[in-house]
């Protein structure tokens, strides 16, 4: 649908005095038709794919003799099982190598652009797509990966899908969906020093739990998000799925337009101006009704860490682990080898991971470098610093951050999902704790028997220097 047509629809809302949410406006502009007593046919603007969740979808289409309908609207990258060292050499693991070769072959056969291993645009799908300008406000985007919610930072409806749905989008550029309910989380006030976007979202999830958002699309509102950079907004939206919400969105504003402007695949010149005029109509109308609303005070948020085996099990770094009598809670603590009521300050940590689609953008490495500068890595720590994309890796060098890391005893690795899900060789050994900037602390997520503690890049950097968890707030105030 053209921008003019979409602007007409927005005008109609005004004429009829209909109060719409950001989510409503974008969703409604993509409904092709409604099935009677059933789902809606939703048009998808951009489809991102990677090696792990696409092969079975390609196979299904081929088996049924169905062509890929809109190959130009698909972008492919290799990220989930790629090695983060020696990317110029053939991938050692046979199964990973096959899966990557399959992606290359499928993209070639179907005329899909692939930014494979070693390409200057290669990277984690949710890092490379925004930085190349594929992600734009008002779009619908999907990917066979639950952290597709990241792109909602641009005021985009973006969500993860299963492989059967990947095949559906291949075949028709559409999905059959029930419109989710709407949820708004507002955070207003002033954040304390050292409180990063990651802390804000870990705080929200710790308050709401891992399924508060199930069945909903979430909008984040309030001055805290308005004042955040695009990188910060992406970190927040990325973890929407960890409270069950299929996606999270933030209203597009000047920060958004400024970020998109000039990017490789972003609209240029008059076309860009025309888009901006439409994007400006997207923010939620005053008085629009949400199905559910939550409000938080920014001043109550502190640097956060998790102590359990789901992202909702988070505490302020200076707090003690809660005491709950429930079998699932106890099973979780037993896995982590923590006690009820225990403090995590001074907990020895041997592994630190800075990376993943949550926190592997340039700002995250700036935060880490800023803390690390002039200090030395603790001897007991093995740290993996994994940039989210080739472009981030390059910028780290341009800004000289690599020297900061090297002087402190750290080595940068090559881009990929890495130890976030440990599909490649970047696995945390059994029984070891890892302070990680990733998004999931599930049992075995970072390797069989590995124990994950989620945190911000600042807390991760501090842990890597100290070799243990410290109360970072003491150093900041």
């Amino acid at each position: 649908m053209s921008e003019d047509k979409r602007l007409d629809v927005i005008d109609d809302y005004d004429t009829l005095n209909m109060k719409k949410t950001l989510f409503d406006k974008v969703w409604d502009a993509h409904v092709v038709k409604e099935v009677k007593d059933g789902p809606q046919v939703l048009y998808i603007d951009k489809h991102l794919i990677h090696e792990v969740t696409s092969p079975q979808a390609f196979a299904e289409l081929e088996q049924r003799g169905i062509p890929v309908f809109r190959p130009d609207q698909i972008v492919a990258t290799a990220d989930h099982n790629t090695p983060t060292v020696d990317q110029h050499l053939p991938v050692k693991d046979v199964l990973s190598r096959n899966q990557l070769a399959q992606l290359t072959e499928n993209c070639k056969k179907n005329n899909i652009t692939l930014y494979g291993l070693g390409h200057k645009y290669n990277g984690i799908v949710h890092v490379m797509a925004p930085e190349l300008g594929f992600t734009q406000p008002g779009m619908t985007m999907v990917c066979g990966d639950s952290h597709t919610s990241t792109h909602g930072a641009f005021g985009t409806i973006a969500f993860g899908i299963g492989t059967s749905q990947v095949a559906q989008v291949f075949a028709s550029q559409c999905l059959l969906l029930q419109k989710p309910k709407s949820l708004r989380v507002s955070v207003n006030g002033t954040l304390k020093p050292g409180v990063l976007p990651k802390d804000v979202i870990l705080y929200i999830i710790s308050k709401l739990g891992t399924n508060a958002g199930t069945g909903y699309f979430c909008e984040y509102a309030g001055n805290v998000f308005e004042e955040m950079s695009m990188e910060g907004r992406m970190t927040v939206c990325n973890m929407s799925i960890e409270m069950g919400a299929r996606g999270g969105m933030i209203a597009p504003d000047e920060t958004t337009f400024e970020y998109v402007k000039g990017r490789e695949f972003a609209p240029k010149g008059d076309e860009f101006d025309k888009k901006v005029a439409y994007w400006k109509t997207l923010p939620t109308d005053e008085g629009a009704i949400f199905d559910k609303e939550y409000h938080f005070d920014a001043a109550d948020i502190e640097p956060m860490i998790t102590y359990g085996t789901n992202p909702g099990m988070g505490i302020k770094i200076s707090e003690n682990i809660p005491t709950e009598n429930n079998a699932s809670f106890e099973k979780s603590l037993a896995y982590m080898n923590f006690q009820k009521g225990q403090s995590l300050i001074n907990q020895k940590i041997n592994y630190v991971f800075i990376g993943s689609c949550t926190n592997s953008r340039i700002e995250d490495f700036r935060v880490a470098a800023n803390f690390i500068k002039g200090k030395k890595k603790a001897d007991n720590v093995t740290a993996w610093f994994v940039p989210g994309s080739q472009q981030v890796a390059q910028q780290i060098v341009q800004e000289g951050l690599n020297h900061v890391f090297e002087n402190a005893g750290f080595k940068l690795r090559q881009p990929g999902c890495s130890a976030c899900l440990a599909m490649n060789d970047d696995k945390i050994p059994e029984g070891e704790y890892c302070v990680s900037t990733s998004n999931r602390n599930f049992e075995g997520r970072q390797g069989q028997g590995a124990r994950t503690i989620l945190a911000s890049p600042l807390v991760a950097a501090a842990t890597a220097i100290e070799g243990k968890i410290i109360d970072i707030t003491k150093q900041l105030n």
Partner: protein
Amino acid sequence: MDKFVKLTSSAIPLPIENVDTDQIIPARFLKATSRDGFGENLFRDWRFQKDGSPNEDFVLNKTIYQGSILVAGDNFGCGSSREHAAWAIHDYGFKVVVSSFFADIFKGNALNNGVLPVQVSPEYLKKLLTEVEKEPNTQIEVDLEAQKITIVHTGVSSDFEINSYKKTCLINGYDDIDFLISNKAEIEAFENA
């Protein structure tokens, strides 16, 4: 896709909350390029010891529990979008998963693979778990047409929700691709509007 109309079976109890997709199928098993064989590694790290021998304490290894219905704790299937989780459950032989709450993406993936997610109240889930744990051969009837689940010997039943479109798909074994492709003219008209 397999059809699903009605099923009567004993069930396997898994009273753990927040069973995430990394437990259902760990990421290291996602390297296959076909949909087959994932059942072998269903709940891999709970089901097997590090040396590959079965963990006798895990319910799937207790031979007294058999059947094609999995009864699980709240918020089943949270985490990643990997459809491999639904494939693993299907491949292992489950046709129904019962819980008091399902994560969105998992629920959709299950439905797209002929596995019926049956959401019941926490109270009914508790009843079901108690019966099954007390008497492993307890028969459970799941009737999709009537949208009803029943503990056969007590007759205690509960209704469950499913959207009418997905219900029709399951009863007839249809999938969404056929439907979407049949709408191509409208999709093209939308693109050109």
